[in-house]
């Protein structure tokens, strides 16, 4: 965490000087000041959530298009945060994965912080064909395993992507579910199974 923040700060400093639009910088600085002044904690959503971490800071300051050298360094940094199961097994239960994918609960000021957090997957992705109510912010994941093969490499990619989407695309719209503490190892494994298990409806 500390290392990441130092990296972000070190990179943000020369970057901001290099950016041409000084006026945008003024408005951004004002926006941050207004956000700090004009929000109040409610439920589980405390004011700490308003602070940018390193990734957010870089993405916010580059319009989600960081220069290549930052993208490379910081995605590698994010990949290093992924926690894999001790036994190395990445394929869980696709039926459980489907339940997690369906739920969009968690982390809002009206959510009970004691309850499990959902994966929000169908909010943005087409996944199993039976669910026709799916969003389109993310790409379709239908036939994910059929197209890519249920290999050790694909499993590791899917697990890592769900754990920390910013390990592959620094300013991806997708949350970092493991990194954020929303989903645990078992839940991420179940989602990997939903995407890759040949028995999952995704691959039928």
């Amino acid at each position: 965490m500390t290392k990441k923040m130092i990296l972000a700060v070190a990179m943000a400093a020369p970057l901001m000087i290099a950016l041409p639009a000084a006026a945008d910088g003024d408005h951004r600085a004002k926006a941050i000041a207004v956000i700090k002044k004009d929000f109040q904690p409610r439920g589980q959503a405390g004011l700490d959530r308003l602070a940018e971490d390193g990734v957010q800071a870089i993405c916010n300051r580059t319009g989600n298009k960081p220069p290549d050298y930052i993208e490379k360094a910081m995605t590698a940094d994010q990949l290093a945060t992924v926690k894999y199961p001790a036994d190395g097994k990445l394929l869980g239960d696709w039926k459980e994965g489907e339940k997690i994918a369906q739920s969009g609960r968690g982390f809002t000021w009206t959510d009970n912080p004691g309850l499990p957090v959902g994966g929000n997957c169908y909010n943005c992705h087409k996944i199993a064909p039976k669910e026709t109510s799916f969003g389109t912010i993310g790409p379709s994941l239908y036939q994910f395993g059929k197209l890519r093969g249920n290999t050790a490499e694909t499993q590791k990619y899917a697990y890592s992507k769900i754990w920390n989407a910013k390990a592959f695309n620094l300013c991806s719209e997708m949350p970092r579910f493991g990194h954020a503490g929303a989903l645990n190892e078992k839940q991420v494994k179940d989602l990997v199974a939903l995407l890759l298990d040949p028995e999952s409806p995704v691959n039928k």
């Binding site: 006026a23 945008d24 408005h27 951004r28 004002k30 926006a31 941050i32 207004v34 956000i35 002044k37 004009d38 929000f39 109040q40 904690p41 409610r42 959503a45 405390g46 004011l47 959530r49 308003l50 602070a51 940018e52 990734v55 957010q56 993405c59 916010n60 319009g63 982390f107 809002t108 000021w109 009206t110 169908y122 909010n123 943005c124 669910e131 026709t132 109510s133 799916f134 969003g135 389109t136 912010i137 910013k166 719209e173 949350p175 970092r176 954020a180 503490g181 929303a182």
Partner: protein
């Protein structure tokens, strides 16, 4: 379906009458059976049905009941200073003038030295002119199933008087322009456990969350979709809700903490959104699912 709708409307009319006779009584929750959640496989049909319903409702919109109440409250002498808003409140078009005021806000008000959206401005008038306490208004600023605050009625009344008018936020005023630019940055600000900003959902064309279409607030055609229908009568729960409420609900879903009521942050965000919709026609208070 249609009979249910008519049933719900009649129930509403009866309740509206009852509350007009006893103005202290909060607007009660009407029957929402007509809006019962459809089964997943019926959602497309339900969407179509809702569109049809909304079209049918345009002439007899439930928002009118709140507008009528708002009109009474606008004209009545109220508050510790016992003055009416009609004789004291300037929404930018002259004291007491509501015609076209809603579509020309947010704007800069020199007496408050602030850029204010309609709701914020009316609250300011209630505090400064009528002597109400801001904290009392901000304690429960939005409607729930058993309570509709006065401010909601007042905003609905004012918004009604901009029906079918073009949005015209005065962006040539440097203070309003500055608020617009800051609002644009607020919309782009990613933070929180999920790294979301407003733009995560509302920054590109043609996206959906589940079956819900997401307007792209960076274009006039998209921004007007985010303005249209607010303040709106929400079928879910049967409550009248304002544009300020909607901004807060977006932040809730963004997993942010809560924006303070009638704050700069909300006013600037609304300046960006409504200002982007400049030139588009506002249809007045509406109906939401």
């Amino acid at each position: 379906m249609k009979q249910n709708i008519i049933g719900a409307l009649c129930a509403l009319a009866v309740m509206g009458g009852a509350s007009a006779q006893s103005p202290k009584k909060p607007v009660a929750k009407p029957s929402t059976k007509a809006a019962a959640a459809p089964a997943a496989e019926e959602k497309d049909a339900a969407t179509l049905e809702f569109e049809k319903f909304r079209a049918e409702m345009e002439e007899s919109n439930p928002a009118e009941l709140f507008e009528m109440k708002g009109q009474e409250q606008w004209k009545a002498k109220r508050g510790p200073k016992n003055v009416s808003l009609a004789e004291s409140c300037d929404l930018g078009q002259g004291v007491g003038k509501v015609e076209g005021a809603y579509v020309k806000m947010p704007r800069y008000f020199a007496d408050a030295d602030a850029v204010m959206d309609a709701e914020r401005r009316i609250v300011w008038c209630m505090v400064e002119k009528q002597g109400f306490k801001f904290d009392d208004i901000a304690k429960q600023p939005f409607a729930n199933e058993t309570f509709t605050p006065d401010i909601t009625n007042l905003v609905t009344y004012v918004a009604t008087h901009s029906r079918n008018m073009k949005i015209a936020v005065p962006l040539d005023d440097p203070k309003v322009r500055d608020a617009y630019e800051v609002g644009k940055e607020i919309a782009a600000y990613r933070a929180g456990p999920y790294d979301f900003s407003c733009n995560t959902c509302h920054g590109t064309d043609g996206k959906r969350i589940r079956m819900q279409n997401l307007p792209n607030l960076s274009t006039p055609a998209g921004a007007i979709k985010g303005v249209q229908g607010w303040p709106g009568y929400r079928m879910t729960g049967g409550v009248m809700l304002t544009h300020q409420w909607r901004m807060g609900d977006c932040f809730r879903q963004q997993r942010f903490p809560q924006p303070k009521y009638a704050s700069d942050a909300v006013a600037y965000l609304l300046t960006y959104m409504i200002g982007t919709a400049n030139g588009q026609v506002y249809k007045g208070p509406g109906i939401k699912r």
